[in-house]
């Protein structure tokens, strides 16, 4: 199943390798060209369908749509306090400011003042008359509508002067919320004992820990992360006849925007039309949290009967919207002499922020990923979503999965150190088995497990063992600088944990000239979903890429769509589009066979040609004939993922259709005087099944790796401890990686294999899983810090491992 390791890859790649080397190591253009000539349209590294528009500045984002005459602009007035009450609001001075048309408050919302996605606890605008509860600093209190965006922003910036406030000290940390017992959703527990699918006895878990030969008990802090989509939140609402609305919204979830706007305005869903051609990045941040802006723009447009655009300034975007949940963990494990985990108990507390948003599902996924790639026969997990006076945390690539898995990885790392064994060896003895020791704590059987061979492959290709020795020798001699190395594996469950979200629809139109238009329920945020879906359709109909065009996601075309999230975009929408295309192909085949003879089942479609009864016809000819024969040349398609089940009360079932795997080896160098560090080399082997588009998938893997590295290192969120103000609210203070943070040696490969489940062309989802790859960076830093203390003690390193966090850990291990 595995591609033999290319001898060239066994050599450490040249630092700063050139583009030809990089391309050749990642994809096989010759093999792809051959497959393409033979008619394949999947498995081909086609550029992003909008790439030529992106580079020319011609790709239209919402703020680029030519504005309609009379367009007004909106800006939000934000709470300057994090907790307490707004007792009075006096907006006259703001209304009188130049260019201001009106100021809207909660009183102007005709329907429900709520934009919560699951739990209805999320006011659109702070309800002053209804108690005036302030939930966080940055909470929208009113909306200024003005002739220009600048006038709106200028007026909204005077918010503080308009409010009378009774302030209270804020609750900011998950620990603080936990101590007060305040949560946004009820606590969750998963318990499994005796390795059994039936037993879940906490006492048995504790007994297993107690009687293990060794025990380890500790805590861990892992910070949150801002999505930092380059295009900020934006909605542009246009009033239509009969009170209806058309909303251009940068969102991963047009259907939910439609529903929430309808509720806020007392409209039927059929009166709200939401459209999104593309987002300038989403990463989860536009799954639920685009709603507030869609609702406000819609309310204003409806009331004023003029188009209203709400585009946030970057600072406001940081201050209003939530992000990846930070987690605090407390755990104890029992293990044997080889590092086998015999029992584990963990409490996870997240910072949910002021409302539930998606914090419940995020915690569910965190608990379902604590096992990562490891068999945990006795385990008790407790998840608490702490309610704090901060932005409401939400989806972010991985959706709690990374937060769950990093805890067990930290445990593996600590156990290895205590046993003085290589962490890879400890990880390996804990891997899920293939035929036994393969049931997860939530009772799903792990099938198609390739972690053993994948890790062995990477261990060899990265030269892990030799480099381990080389680094030890370096550290022996080096006074100031220490190097560290780590391998981290991953297993990630694919599907929404909620069964009914796992469905999708698509529409395919074939026009009489043979051109094809595709529409589906997924949204394009840069991940290449439209590219992949277009490839699936081109493959199904045997046509060139140029014939297929994918249009904006639109609630008037495909109804009741799920969010483009949980990495499921291509799995669900690809299958739905395939279903639609296949129906059209079958009709075309029927029509061709009727006209030209032969069996419909033997008609072949490839390379814009149709082979029928020994004749080769142009695709467009066959289409034209089918039209004359009155065949339906458009079709809908539908897909629902089979075999899923989830009992949310018991937290058991089969939530995932399959698992994706991967592993990374990272090497860092750390300065023991300052805590500065640099990633020297990263080697990645990732499982995308039988890739639909290797270049797009490599792009997801590398992008997730660098993004996740940012989460675990430089991206630090700081709230002022007294005021509760987020003080890192712009790129000047919140530092995502730059080009210089990309490692000088970066070897990235896709694992050669295929999904054993019947996924779209046997591919695997690739959006989120690789976000776990940069764990290797964090643990390589931990290794280097440990080296600074002679590997005697476990480094108290928290994430993000900023230079300060690293130096503190170094100081601790050196003085221990």
């Amino acid at each position: 199943m595995n591609k033999p390791i290319d001898a060239r890859l066994l050599q450490p790649a040249e630092a700063f390798a050139d583009y030809l080397t990089n391309t050749a190591a990642r994809i096989d253009p010759a093999a792809e060209a051959l497959a393409h000539d033979l008619g394949a349209r999947v498995g081909i590294s086609r550029p992003h369908e909008s790439a030529h528009l992106h580079v020319a500045g011609e790709a239209t984002y919402i703020d680029d749509i030519p504005e309609l005459t009379g367009t007004l602009h909106c800006a939000l007035g934000l709470s300057p306090a994090a907790n307490g009450r707004v007792t009075a609001l006096s907006l006259d001075a703001i209304r009188a400011m130049p260019g201001v048309v009106t100021v809207l408050t909660a009183d102007d919302i005709p329907g429900t003042n709520d934009c919560g996605s699951i739990v209805h606890d999320d006011p659109i605008l702070l309800p002053v008359k209804d108690g005036g509860e302030i939930r966080y600093l940055g909470q929208p209190v009113f909306a200024v509508i003005a002739e220009t965006r600048e006038a709106a922003r200028r007026a909204a910036s005077r918010a503080k002067e308009a409010m009378t406030i009774e302030a209270q000290p804020p609750v900011l940390t998950p620990q603080d919320a936990h101590a007060r017992g305040q949560y946004v959703v009820p606590p969750m527990h998963i318990v499994r004992s005796g390795g059994s699918a039936n037993e879940g006895d906490e006492a048995a878990v504790r007994a297993a820990i107690a009687k293990a030969p060794h025990r380890h008990k500790s805590t861990l802090d892992v910070g949150g992360q801002e999505q930092f989509y380059l295009e900020g939140q934006i909605s542009y609402a246009i009033p239509k006849e009969g009170g209806a609305l058309h909303i251009h919204c940068s969102t991963q979830h047009p259907s939910e925007m439609q529903h929430l706007v309808a509720h806020a305005l007392h409209l039927q869903s059929n009166e709200v039309h939401v459209e999104c051609r593309r987002m300038g990045g989403g990463f989860g941040g536009k799954e639920s949290q685009s709603a507030l802006f869609a609702c406000v723009a819609a309310i204003a447009a409806r009331q004023l009967q003029r188009p209203v655009k709400l585009r946030l300034d970057r600072d406001d975007d940081f201050m209003i919207t939530g992000r990846r949940h930070c987690f605090w963990y407390e755990y104890e494990v029992g293990y044997d002499d080889e590092g086998r985990i015999l029992g584990a108990e963990i409490t996870m507390v997240s910072r949910a922020g002021h409302s539930a948003d998606l914090s419940g599902p995020v915690m569910t996924r965190a608990l379902c990923h604590f096992d990562n790639a490891y068999w945990l026969p006795n385990v008790a997990m407790h998840g608490f979503s702490g309610k704090t006076n901060t932005q409401s945390n939400t989806a972010f690539r991985g959706f709690g999965g990374p937060q769950g898995a990093i805890a067990i990885e930290n445990i593996m790392d600590s156990v290895a150190r205590e046993l003085k064994r290589d962490p890879l060896d400890v990880r390996r003895v804990n891997f899920y088995g293939k035929a036994e020791n393969n049931v997860t704590p939530y009772r799903q059987t792990v099938t198609g497990n390739i972690v053993h061979e994948l890790v062995a492959d990477l261990e060899a290709s990265s030269g892990y063992r030799a480099r381990r020795e080389e680094i030890a020798a370096f550290n022996q001699k080096s006074v100031v600088l220490k190097r560290g190395l780590a391998l981290a594996p991953l297993k990630f469950g694919i599907s929404f944990n909620v069964k009914h979200f796992n469905q999708a629809g698509a529409l395919v139109h074939v026009y009489t000239d043979g051109s094809i238009l595709v529409n589906h329920g997924g949204t394009e945020m840069g991940q290449g979903l439209n590219t992949k879906v277009a490839q699936v359709v081109a493959h199904e109909l045997g046509v060139s890429f140029e014939r297929v065009r994918v249009t904006a996601t639109d609630t008037t075309k495909v109804a009741n769509t799920s969010a483009t999230a949980a990495s499921t975009g291509a799995d669900l929408n690809g299958k739905a589009a395939q279903d639609a295309a296949r129906q059209i192909r079958e009709r075309l085949a029927e029509s061709a066979a009727e006209r030209h003879g032969g069996k419909a089942s033997e008609v072949r479609f490839a390379n814009d040609k149709v082979e029928v009864n020994g004749r080769s016809l142009a695709f467009s000819t066959v289409v034209g004939e089918a039209y004359l024969d009155r065949k339906q040349l458009w079709s809908d398609g539908f897909y629902a993922t089979p075999g899923l089940s989830w009992d949310k009360d018991k937290m058991q079932g089969r939530p995932f259709y399959y698992y994706a795997y991967g592993a990374a080896v990272s090497e860092v160098i750390v300065d023991t005087l300052t805590g500065e560090w640099k990633l020297l080399r990263a080697d990645i082997l990732h499982d995308a099944g039988k890739s639909l588009n290797p270049a797009v998938d490599i792009g997801q893997v590398e992008g997730a790796f660098i993004q996740g590295m940012g989460w675990l290192t430089t991206e630090e969120l700081v709230w002022h401890p007294q005021s509760g103000m987020l003080t890192t609210h712009a790129p000047s203070t919140y530092k995502i990686p730059t080009a210089n943070d990309c490692p000088p040696v970066f070897n990235v490969r896709l694992f050669e294999g295929q999904n054993f489940e019947d996924s779209i062309h046997r591919s695997k989802a690739v959006g989120e899983p690789p976000l776990l790859l940069p764990f290797s960076v964090f643990f390589a830093i931990r290794d280097a810090v440990s080296a600074a203390g002679g590997h005697r003690v476990d480094p108290p390193l928290k994430a993000p491992a900023t230079s300060e966090s690293i130096l503190r850990a170094i100081t601790a291990v050196q003085s221990a």
Binding site: N22, S50, A51, D671, K678, A704, A739
Partner: protein
Amino acid sequence: MSTESSSNNSTQPVRFFHRGRIVDVSGVHPTRSVLDWLREDAHCTGTKEGCNEGDCGACTVVIGELASDANAPGTVGGLQLQTVNACIQFLPTLHGKALFTVEDLKAQCAAAQPQDNRKHAVHTLHPVQQAMVDCHGSQCGFCTPGFVMSLWSAYEHHQAEGTQPTRQQLADELSGNLCRCTGYRPILDAGQRMFDLPAVRLDTKPVVAALTALQNDGLDYAAPLGARIDHFHAPRTIAQLAALREQKPRAQLLAGSTDVGLWVNKQFRDLGDIIYVGDVAEMKTIETRQNDEGGELYIGAGASLEAAFEALVQRVPSLTDVWLRFASPPIRHAGTMGGNVANGSPIGDSPPVLMSLDAEIELRRGDAVRRMPLPDFYIDYMKNQLQPGEFVQGLAVPLAAMRRQVRAYKISKRFDCDISALCAGFAIELEQGSDTVKAVRLAFGGMAATVKRAANAEAALVGKPWTQASVAAAKLALAQDFKPLSDMRASADYRLQVAQNLIQRLWLETRAEDALSLEETSVWSVMPHAAVKAAAEGA
């Protein structure tokens, strides 16, 4: 459009070259940004707004100016081409310049085609763009136009020089462009591939002709009080600037607007009268001047950060990292070292470097010019010695000071384009033939209300042997010098501990015996910056 904008017939239009012609813009508010003008007025929406503070690069555009010396290195066909952030550039500063945006690139391909192929060529991508497509350099595409413009600037410069950039040079060029999707590898790949595609070069002749005509067209902004438009004054000579400054002591001096732009965009400050110094050519002087003390490097206050640091690094290669880590290329092109010093932020990175080099600051009021050591210039947080009507004219760095062992260490969360938690500028000189410290300068930013030298720590070292014991004493003394703050960049404890450790590093790198090389002390030494290499080879 700003609600406060007003049209005044007595003022003159802002005129600049854009998309093949000279455009006239009248009645624009003086602080209207180039980005807002592009997107809202000119309807050129290729350039994006990502942060509105010059930190993400989505709005990167290229500014072309007539080169004072058409053959000077770095010029492209008689033009100086530089990336800037359109979000924090005020439109009136474009006067007499050319503005290039992502929309211009395909047009260059069309122009390069024979007449009958031009229609087809409208759809042809520029090599920079094609390379980005070929290498999968865009995902969501929102940052892409900014990257394309940074790459295009590098492309034109290297084509003009007949060189190709290394990946490290490309990464440094792109340090002001954030991408959240790709992880950058494919973009760096594209930066290499673009040179392997058939070349398309900017035809600078019509641009040079247009700008020359503009310069000569009789629109004279040189009158001392000649407002280009309402409240926007753009003197051409230092004498005019000095006179104007005296007459309007409360006016806001404007150079690169890399800080002032944020006051407008984020705080909605009304700037009132603005005196733009960017058209004063004399202020951009960088030259070596002889004097009784063995000469000095003179840096005019209007010299860009890029030009000023380049001049310093030529003489003191150990400043390379702090140069490349100072903001980003677009910010360094716009911002000035004089502005960074005059601004007086405690976390500016120029002052610690300059203090370690014994720099003097030159102030001018009317015709009166005075100088003082830089440490004396700062009084307290954002307070300095400038009198009403006075301005910073230049900076002078003694050549003798540059012959000491000089180090600059910047500590921040991220290597590139970050604001320092602390920044240290160090210089040390030992007595000839001994290990006694003859002179030492330990200047720190980020440790107090102003950038300042560590008087106690320096005193603990002068006249003492350069040993671990002396370093220990200096580290102790440093705790008397500074009581730093905790903020989102670092805690007080971290700042002090690192400041102390940096003295340790200085010693490790400069001690008489067993001095450690850069490879042994710096995690950044793996990054093959050209200038660092040159320094290593020179040493």
